[in-house]
Amino acid sequence: MLELTYSAGTIIVRSDQNFDLSLPFLTYDPRVDAYRCYACKYGELIKYLEKKKISYTDNVIKPIEGNIVQKKDLSLKEYQEEALEAWLLNDKKGIVVLPTGTGKTFVGLAAISNVRAPTLIVVPTLELMDQWYWRVKEFFDVSIGRFGGGYKEIEYITIITYDSAYINAEQIGNKFELMIFDEVHHLPSEGFRQIALLSASPYRLGLTATPEREDGLHDLLPSLVGDIVYRRSVIEMKGKYLAPFEIVRYYVDLNDEERKRYEELRKKFKKFFDELGIKLDSLEDFYQMILKSGKDRKAREALIAWNEARKLALNASNKLNVLERILEKHKGERILIFTEYNSFARLISKKYLIPEVTYRTPEKERIITMERFRKGIYNVLVTSKVLEEGIDVPSANVGIILSGSGSKREFIQRLGRILRPMKDKNAILYEIVTRNTSEVNVSYRRRRELLTGFFD
């Protein structure tokens, strides 16, 4: 007789007789004189034992006790139904890819409604944690816990941040039967993948608009969560389920003082690069410089100069003039303003009395502000990086990118923020870019794939 127990993210297999345990998946562990495998091998292990007719006692999953009652119909859209169906057919494993704004959350809720078992929902931000919390509350009678951002509750349905799940993987790994990974493209990173490896949950659902990662690690997703079981793109859904959109770009100049400073700084780091004989256009060059800057004073000064030049371009004061024109034009509409730096968001908040939501905003205020924006008490919001991922901001139709990075993902997510379906209103995304600076390239990089039509 074998005994299977869960131990800190792994499964320990013991035998009461001298049973031959040289099974696949298992490694002998002299520290505890027993065999061990990752908790995520649980399903495979059981299947193997059943097939070979080896009897065992199973003490792995210790599910949170409780029950769940659905109190409201989810009224799924056609494609949400299809996505759920595809996931169910794949043994309740796998990833659903849907554009931002098409209600991925509802696919998750449908999975919960179907499995009706203790569920862990892993999310990248506190805003998403709140959003899931209210959604689950709306549709189910069940005890809901939050873990992360000051909360430490483990309940029948628990919503946890990736950071907290990583730290507490050992403690939560055998308490849930279903795991939902929201924005699942975060999961394959070196640290976060352990959340999946150290968990025994047999049912897994991943949700994202953009599964592909620039580092190629998305190749790990099938082994951590399952294959992509359903996928729809922005282009397919535009107009029908998403607002039609246009993108408008404005160019501004640095003012004289800023331009003078910009050229000074540029000369400074350019000289440094020329001396080293490296060009400025590859990331690799850049890492070289950052690496050198640890020891080399000159390199460090060049790096500081580069940073300041970048900041000058991104925060150009003329951008505010354009911003004011756009705001005036869309007075009374729902507007989101995006910046790269928190400090720029704060400047706008103070100057125009527009509420800010950034990592530096006190949590209490963030919650109040989001709620009031949702309810329509506030029309305009300024944010840096916080709102990029999956937050329900149901009815903004104007987005203004004052500054951003070259990341395609960030751009798509910002675009997604204004693509929620709305009556009679087209969505407009503005980009304000400083002419004759590195920002022109940055802006091109983030949207080039949209321009060539490959965009989902």
């Binding site: 050992e170 705001l327 009395l353 527009i354 506030y378």
Partner: protein, 404 residues
Amino acid sequence: MLTSDLLRVKIIKNEHIRPLFVEMNEENLFLADTLIDLYRSSISKKVSDLEDKLKEIEYNAESLGYDFKLFRGLKSLLDRRLIIEENQESDAIKIRAMIFELANQHYEGIILKEEEKEKIFSLVSQRLGKSPDEIKEIFNSVYEEEKKIKDFLNISPEELLRQYNLSLLQTLVFKCRKLFVDLEVGGHEMRNILWMIKKLNLLFLAEKSYTGLNLAIDGPASIIKQTERYGTRIAKLLPHLFKAKNWHIRAYVAYKIRNKKKIFKLELSKQEAQNFLPHAINEKIEYDSYIEEDFSKKFYSVGGEWQIIREPEPILIGRDIFIPDFVLIKQDKKVYLEIMGFWSEDYIKRKIEKLKKLSNINLILAIDSSLGNIEINNLSSNIYIVKYNKKILIADIIKALNKF
């Protein structure tokens, strides 16, 4: 512990790695002292004022040849000693919400003129009976940099530098997958170390070494695949290991050099490190339970020629470690005593299975029989069981001692 961008190391012969410890010399003590002074004098001032001054000092320090990573490392240790004022925040948030709401009601959320902004502030000031300037101050008060410093937990310059060195070492160990440590250690410290290992959810394999015991420490999943997951916890264990009479650590650490990750060997012994690291504080021995304390006192007075020592040297069983509660010594006779106040049948049986491997050691197991009846068969001749009811009778122990 520091963020990894502040790590400073020395690489020796492209093979060994060491934290770049700071020495307790005049130069470094001066920097530490200057910083501590600044933090101390910032009490009841704004956080942003302190930040501004730090920027200035950092610039000057760099000109004087101090490494900015040292500067920022010290700063991050000192930041943790600040106590920031948190009061009135929820009132301020309510007032801000009122300001934003009014801005939406009167101007649809878009205020582009200075006089419109002033109007909002004066509206709020009328409602709350405060001056517009007060309202503006409240509006700004939620920003971190506007917060005030309430207190600073003082530290001496030397202690700060020593704490910095320990943090540096811990930061390097973050990236290790397994730690080997040679320990010359008493039973009490060992018990503390084993307890910490358990608490941190780590595991070990022990073996005899030249100086005492060698432990190979990593985590549960390490046996399946070596991982850096446990590095942070191993780093947390270090200060506990450093309480040993003598120690020597060895670890293999991943470190990026010229953008390539390479594994380096980190080795450090107490002799080399004691001038750099914080002084170990050895706590007073505290008894786990009343029974042990009571027994120890009584035995001391009636034990006669038998000497009693609490928490003797750790004993190796296989690759595990056993620390008995007491050792009783009379001339060349040595008998260990283990008191089992809390137990379950499974626990005792597993323990005895383990102890049977100790054929060269004499051991008395005292079992509290008020917790239930237990029959134990097949004992080896070097283990003797004494049952007691809540209180151990010294006479029973002496009787057992005479059997050996």
